[in-house]
Subunit: 232 residues, 3 copies
Amino acid sequence: MSYHVHPPAGPMNLYSYFISSNPSTAFNPNQVWPRISKRSYLSPYSYVAGDVTIQRNVFVAPFVSIRADEGSPFYIGEGTNLQDGVIVHGLKNRYVEKDASKYSIYIGKNVSCTHGSLIHGPCLIEDNVFIGFQAIVYSAVIGEGSFISTNAVVTNGVQLRPHSFVPPGATIDTQVKADSLSGVPKNDAEFAKEVQRVNLEFPAAYSLMFGEIRCSCGLSCSRGRLDNLTDS
Amino acid sequence: MSYHVHPPAGPMNLYSYFISSNPSTAFNPNQVWPRISKRSYLSPYSYVAGDVTIQRNVFVAPFVSIRADEGSPFYIGEGTNLQDGVIVHGLKNRYVEKDASKYSIYIGKNVSCTHGSLIHGPCLIEDNVFIGFQAIVYSAVIGEGSFISTNAVVTNGVQLRPHSFVPPGATIDTQVKADSLSGVPKNDAEFAKEVQRVNLEFPAAYSLMFGEIRCSCGLSCSRGRLDNLTDS
Amino acid sequence: MSYHVHPPAGPMNLYSYFISSNPSTAFNPNQVWPRISKRSYLSPYSYVAGDVTIQRNVFVAPFVSIRADEGSPFYIGEGTNLQDGVIVHGLKNRYVEKDASKYSIYIGKNVSCTHGSLIHGPCLIEDNVFIGFQAIVYSAVIGEGSFISTNAVVTNGVQLRPHSFVPPGATIDTQVKADSLSGVPKNDAEFAKEVQRVNLEFPAAYSLMFGEIRCSCGLSCSRGRLDNLTDS
């Protein structure tokens, strides 16, 4: 294979994110763009594609991929945070149900998905759930207020009752294991609340900081002017 | 240390990837640029550096690093997918052999490297292998059609026979363990095939979607015009 | 929610990183910009925000997030490398002490943080430490020359003596476990030194390669001209 050199432009100090529709495929022919509340915040180097709804006060950290090009749609509730390196993706034609609608991935309100965790559809994560470092949730229903510790895996179609505690490194891959989980210790519940509270400050604080930054094109590019962001 | 403020440009909705040669170092003085088939697809926020060959119909997801600046060269076969956050890197002066050539990393055809997995050279991954979420393959030879489950580690110079099944979270670090692996269960083999088939749609579907998008410079920048992409 | 389409610009072959202050929050009202030695190297798609000091000859790989917007400040010593996908973040109001100063995260000289590892404050990592693939260090003090293997977790306030060896996949979450660790085997110690030596070549080698690359704006943008980079 012959080739030529096309050098990259740069280096540049640049705040860019990526938002687009999914591509049209045999399993997902309709192209849908994300709907993202203007009161949420997408960090530099975040990626959102396809039929994704992001409600207000959501914090999306750098290197987060929300890729609804196979499983779809995704819903991310108010006050939720997706920390650095989180991946959100789903299998095609596999759904959870919430409020009589079908989703590949439904994440409720005030959920913390901490650094490096993987949320893979089909899955339903109810409000106030905490997902620890590098944990994996895939093909599962996670009851309200549950706490999934560092490096844990919850999978294989299990359903966790509200306020279930998954210990560090545990694999919950049968309903028997899921049903035997104990409740969330008080310290962990308080820690989870505090993490969510801290992250809740970021959407407004970051948006304020970048509201006046201008594009290299010379025009002001505050997020409010991006047409795919909504007023909610 | 004194310093001044240089604010970043942005926010911008931007599709950028990064392709370059490796830098010249004592252990790798020759600078080589990647050769990437025009029929493959590099997502926004993907990174490819050094002596890397990417054959046709390869899907490279966001936040994938293919960094041939130490171990080199890398080969990635037709129809393979590297999902979000995959890292491909190799140790210097350590090689595998394939078809009488030496590689730091050789990945065959129709391989799925799923979200967050790490492929570290020296390693040889034969055709139709499936590598699960956050799994690690480092210093290993993986026989054709093998299935490496979520969070597994295969390392320490082991060689897996074709169609080996590595269970979730297993560490295969001796040849005795490698030789004791059973075959891939039918369900898992079918799942692996389906994942590969789905990802095979993405290079053309994404390229079609972005073919007409224009650079901020005002010129059309469809991938076919990048000089370091090849016609194969 | 109604919305309109704002297509992304691209595709572009672009070397961009992101450097900014932290945003002003209730727990962290002062905005501080990173101080980064001009003799260090930030790869494309690296992210540094807030009160972060990066000394000379540090290599920051693609998709590394150094986000001092909650816990703060961070210090990264001379000759240290942060490989692809490393995340550096800290809890608010939690500190370690080093040389009579308080840090959320202090990383000494010649430390290797390998691919996908997570360094979460409060933590103190002394000189010449090696942190393996996807390992987690969170709320810990790591003595000089320690070796933390692949997938290990060190947490819960433990202190590791100098030259401690944490085996692959081990969880060190009590001081008793920490105190029972043996020394670093000779092979691993040599391997760690070699990894650090290799990465030490990258800052100068990469900077040389990109020194002459020009921005899309037409101006030369060698890193030395960025005002937030220091002369040290």
